[in-house]
């Protein structure tokens, strides 16, 4: 199978080949302690709410109690009269001074910072108070009287598609924002020819990343220069900067966004379109710094990015031998009131829609529907985690239909290690892999046969024990075509998602790296960057200094998301280190009277191979580079710094007819999880007897931090599987607005798990790294579905919706018991 490979792809492959591959690395691959840790351990994290600026005011918002209502009047005089109140703003002020919030191909779907004429979901902002402190701001919110004319609400996406349904956006004239069917291969024929098929109506509930640190920002407008500075815990402050400037109606050159460490994101801070724009706007109005940090209730009912909310009709065709031949997916996605990233989360799913299996015929239908709920954005997995749950549910149903072992049916369909790069039916490729190797490793790790026997033994004692076995792909590093290939004539067709890094070796010999994205939200960008730079210059990782550019000084960066950051920043670092090392070699060769090719980097020095005495420290080279121009080769500029912008190394355009979506998410990891659970039929409690994960994310930079990502993502997926769901009442109000009613997994709910790795380096990325931040959550919803279903097999349970609540389990047992 041939893969079109752009010039960048070819270039990177060569660079990587030049790097020491696999063995012989000193720092990449080591489980080092994180360099980020000490400040957080000492309580010096400097999160957004920890920052105080002189003269800073505080904002609090009035949120709509209605899901759909016209705003008739807003009475603000009592609030304005309260001592300590600086200003009260409503939609009128936004209409006069600002443009709508950034949107992505949303057409007639307009979203404003403060609702102007009507509110479209519970919790939407209708007014804001800026006051001397947050207590006063909240007091004043209680003094604002809003008169609403309630409108009929539409909450069910199927009802929303009926003629005559209340319209969320009148200008759109429909609640179906978008619909399309993609067909790859001969799907009808595959289903007609298949001796067997399974079908399921599947339901994935809306939940959210729910970081402990909510979304927040501080606006700081400087009237003298006209520059509005926004401190924000947004992950994505350079890629979309110009969009925020447009909302604020300022030139992009007058907008400066300063990244602040985020206390968790999981997608919820991927591109905060509401909060930083809002804080900047408030500061511009009152001409002093204004802090706006969501409280928990606001974060739950109205955060920038809620997760997917999908209804599926899905089918899998297969033979008597268990070989899959066709996959049909029909999805109605309840996007809520605005279509922020819209179809992107389904574009994402299409990158790995067939999972690790050789399915050649695929049909994928999507109806993107608007309802009176908060809008979707991004949540760890970005839609592909849902797609994987759907596929693995179908595979389990197929195994049951055939009476075939669930491992065996999967093994029979796996793409073979000799088939890479593998072009999937949608056009995206899987760069590399050894899926059988990962499967064999987990079966051995878990001693699968032992647990099957143990399950049967415990069952004989009357206990409800079940096993789940799930596979998943983990696509990483998006190009941006997934956001627009849905449309025949897209308005905006970006194909870039670059990342940059700068490295300066200062005159004292200290290596200072500048990152151009706010990538710190619980992952380990500084540790990873330190390890890579240490590898290149052979210096101790803890000696590398990491800084962050603000948006006015930043080179192109896209930030973390879609498990891209480690791969992309490594590419940028490879470029910058290569330039710097060439310069260092030239200077050193000149001084040491040696040949450049005979030099090596060793222990913070550059020296002649085999001649221990002939060497210079990096500081000696740097001092020359900065201070002694006349000692340098004639054509050399002063200084010792380099920067590099790295583009997606392997991407192609979709075909005009969209029969081929192109290569858009090609660095694809692979994982298997196996869990053994016990279900208490009386209480519905699910306990873990064993949980194992084996992942292949290519070259591992730091196995300990990768383990942390996998375990954390797995437990987050357990929350999705067992507990988490936004509950809307009949009037569209979110019923579970706090952590008492929106249960997150606690330490008592999380399993003790084992994590192991296989490393199949990508041939296309620097050092062979593949992204890996989302993997855990790609698998655990499927594993819980499978294991609980197995544990309750005697009651004829089929898990078709999440979360699988304790109440539901008790109900199944009661019903099944009656039937039995």
């Amino acid at each position: 199978m041939s893969v079109e490979q752009g010039p960048l792809g070819a270039k990177i492959a060569r660079d990587t080949a030049a790097a020491p591959n696999g063995g012989g690395r000193r720092w990449i691959g080591k489980a080092l302690n994180r360099v980020e840790d000490p400040r957080f351990l000492r309580g010096q994290g400097r999160y957004i709410d920890d920052i105080k600026l002189p003269g800073m005011a505080h904002a609090a918002v009035v949120r709509s109690p209605h899901a759909h209502a016209r705003i008739v009047a807003i009475e603000t005089s009592a609030a304005e009269a309260l001592p300590g109140v600086v200003r009260v703003l409503t939609g009128k002020d936004v209409a006069e001074r600002a443009a709508p919030l950034p949107s992505f191909g949303a057409g007639q779907i307009v979203q404003d910072m403060i609702a102007i004429e009507k509110v479209r979901h519970h919790g939407e902002t209708v007014a804001v108070v800026i006051a001397e402190d947050r207590y006063i701001a909240e007091d004043a919110c209680d003094l604002i009287a809003v008169e609403y004319e309630p409108l009929p609400v539409v909450l069910d996406p199927f009802a929303a598609r009926e003629p005559g349904a209340p319209l969320v956006h009148e200008a759109l004239e429909t609640n179906t924002a978008y619909e399309r069917t993609f067909t790859f291969g001969e799907v009808d024929q595959a289903f007609a020819d298949a001796p067997r098929s399974v079908q399921a109506d599947l339901r994935w509930p809306r939940s959210t990343g729910m970081p402990m640190d909510t979304n927040g920002a501080i606006g700081d407008f400087d009237a003298a220069s006209g520059v509005v500075t926004i401190y924000a815990n947004s992950m994505n402050f350079t890629y979309f900067l110009w969009l925020i400037a447009m909302s604020l109606k300022v030139p992009a050159s007058k907008l400066r966004i300063v990244p602040v460490a985020a206390g968790g994101s999981f997608g919820s801070k991927f591109f905060m379109h509401k909060v930083p724009t809002f804080a900047g706007f408030l500061s511009m109005v009152v001409r002093r710094p204004v802090k706006y940090v969501e409280d928990r209730v606001t974060h739950i009912v109205a955060n920038d990015h809620a997760g997917s909310d999908r209804h599926y009709d899905a089918s899998l065709a297969f033979g008597d031998d268990g070989i899959f031949t066709g996959l049909r997916i029909d999805c109605v996605d309840d996007y809520g009131a605005y279509l922020q990233f819209g179809t992107g989360t389904h574009g994402n799913a299409l990158s790995q829609v067939v999972g690790p299996y050789r399915i050649r015929n695929v049909e994928y239908s999507l109806a993107a529907v608007l309802t009176n709920k908060n809008q979707q954005g991004a949540y760890r997995g970005f839609g592909a985690e849902v797609s994987n749950w759907v596929l693995e549910r179908l595979v389990d149903l197929a195994a049951r239909d055939l009476g075939m072992d669930r491992v065996e049916i999967r093994r029979r369909n796996l793409i073979g290690p000799d088939q890479f790069p593998y072009r999937t039916p949608t056009g995206n490729i899987y760069d590399s892999g050894n899926y059988q190797g990962v499967l064999d490793k987990i079966l051995e790790e878990v001693d699968y046969d032992h647990w099957v026997a143990e399950r049967d033994r415990l069952r004989a004692e009357g206990r409800h024990v079940g096993i789940g076995v799930i596979a998943s792909q983990e696509r990483s590093v998006f190009s941006s075509t997934e956001f627009w290939f849905w449309f025949d004539e897209p308005e905006f067709t970006p194909t870039s998602s670059p990342e940059s890094a700068g490295i300066q070796i200062d005159p004292t010999g200290e290596i200072v790296v500048t990152l151009h994205s706010q990538s710190l939200w619980g992952n380990s960008p500084e540790t990873v960057v330190s390890q890579i730079v240490a590898e290149e210059f052979d210096v101790p990782p803890e000696s590398v200094v990491i800084t962050y550019a603000d948006s006015q000084h930043a080179l192109p960066g896209t930030g973390p998301g879609g498990s891209r950051y480690t791969v992309m920043v490594a590419g940028a670092l490879a470029g910058a280190t290569s330039t710097l090392k060439k310069k260092i070699r030239r200077i050193a060769a000149d001084k040491l009277e040696a040949n450049e090719d005979d030099l090596e980097f060793r222990d913070g020095r550059v020296g002649v191979i085999g001649t221990p005495d002939a060497e210079l420290t990096l500081g000696e080279v740097a001092l020359s580079a900065y201070m002694f121009r006349l000692d340098l080769p004639d054509d050399m500029e002063s200084g010792l710094a380099a920067q590099s912008t790295y583009d997606h190394p392997l991407t192609t355009l979709p075909s005009d007819d969209r029969s081929d979506l192109g290569i858009f998410y090609p660095f694809v990891g692979h994982a298997w999880h196996i869990a053994v659970v016990e279900v208490d039929p009386g209480t519905g409690k699910v306990s873990f007897l064993r949980y194992a994960a084996v992942h292949d994310a290519g070259t591992v930079v730091n196995p300990r931090t990768l383990d942390g990502q996998i375990i954390g993502g797995t437990v987050q997926g357990i929350g999705t599987a067992l507990y988490e769901q936004y509950v809307y009442d009949d009037e569209g109000r979110v019923r579970n607005q706090d952590f008492e009613h929106y249960h997150l997994p606690s330490a008592m709910d999380a399993p003790e798990m084992t994590v192991a790795h296989q490393e199949t380096p990508s041939p296309y990325t620097a050092y062979g790294i593949k992204g890996a931040g989302e993997g855990g959550r790609m698998l655990s919803p499927g594993i819980l579905s499978a294991a609980i279903e197995d544990a309750l097999h005697e009651y004829g349970v089929t898990v078709t919706s999440l979360p699988i609540t304790a109440e539901q389990i008790v109900g199944w047992v009661a019903e099944g018991g009656k039937r039995g």
């Binding site: 351990l41 709410d49 402990m212 206390g263 300990r704 375990i711």
Partner: protein, 172 residues
């Protein structure tokens, strides 16, 4: 004694060994006293409803939700916050070092509360107790990043490590 709602009252607390004083509204929470008046921003607010435990501090050696207490309730009492755990020169305490060595934190937001809660647990169970007991001890502090496993490993490691006596007098 009755106090008008907008009247300020003086609160004196011993924080990490040093007596501090502030004039606050009666309704001011202990968390806001620490964060806003005393500039000790290591204590974090994540829900302000008392469910997540991210604002935990030690009051006379017991962990409390600083978002659920008024500052005036802490008057005259002794507090330990995350800023008091490391040595005066910044040296990490054995518990902090264990979190560092075992990747017991990712974003770091819940970490101060986890440390103070674990510290209380380890004083009651110098050998750490069972993993189940460790999990139960920290079950009132929500963490969204780690999945807890490496936190449990960190606490277990700190229990088996030699523990230095508290240097600043607060708490223990």
């Amino acid at each position: 004694m009755s106090i008008a709602a907008d009247e300020r009252v003086t609160v004196r607390v011993q924080v990490n060994g040093a007596w501090r004083e502030a004039q606050v509204e009666p309704r001011r929470t202990l968390a806001d006293l620490l964060r806003e008046d005393l500039d000790l921003t290591g204590t974090h607010l994540a829900c302000e409803h008392g469910f997540c435990g991210n604002c935990n501090v030690q009051l006379d050696g017991e962990t409390v939700r600083s978002c659920l207490m008024f500052a005036v309730q802490a008057d005259g009492r002794s507090l330990l916050t995350v800023e008091g755990l490391a040595g005066p020169d910044g040296t990490l305490s054995p518990l902090q070092q264990a979190f560092h060595d075992h990747h017991g934190l990712q974003c770091g937001f819940c970490t101060p509360a986890m440390l103070l809660t674990a510290d209380e647990h380890l004083r009651a169970h110098p050998d750490g107790g069972s993993d189940e007991e460790i999990r139960e001890a920290i079950s009132g502090v929500l963490c969204r990043c780690t999945g807890y496993q490496q936190i449990v490993e960190s606490i277990r490691a700190a229990a088996t490590a030699p523990r230095a006596p508290s240097s600043n007098g607060a708490g223990a």
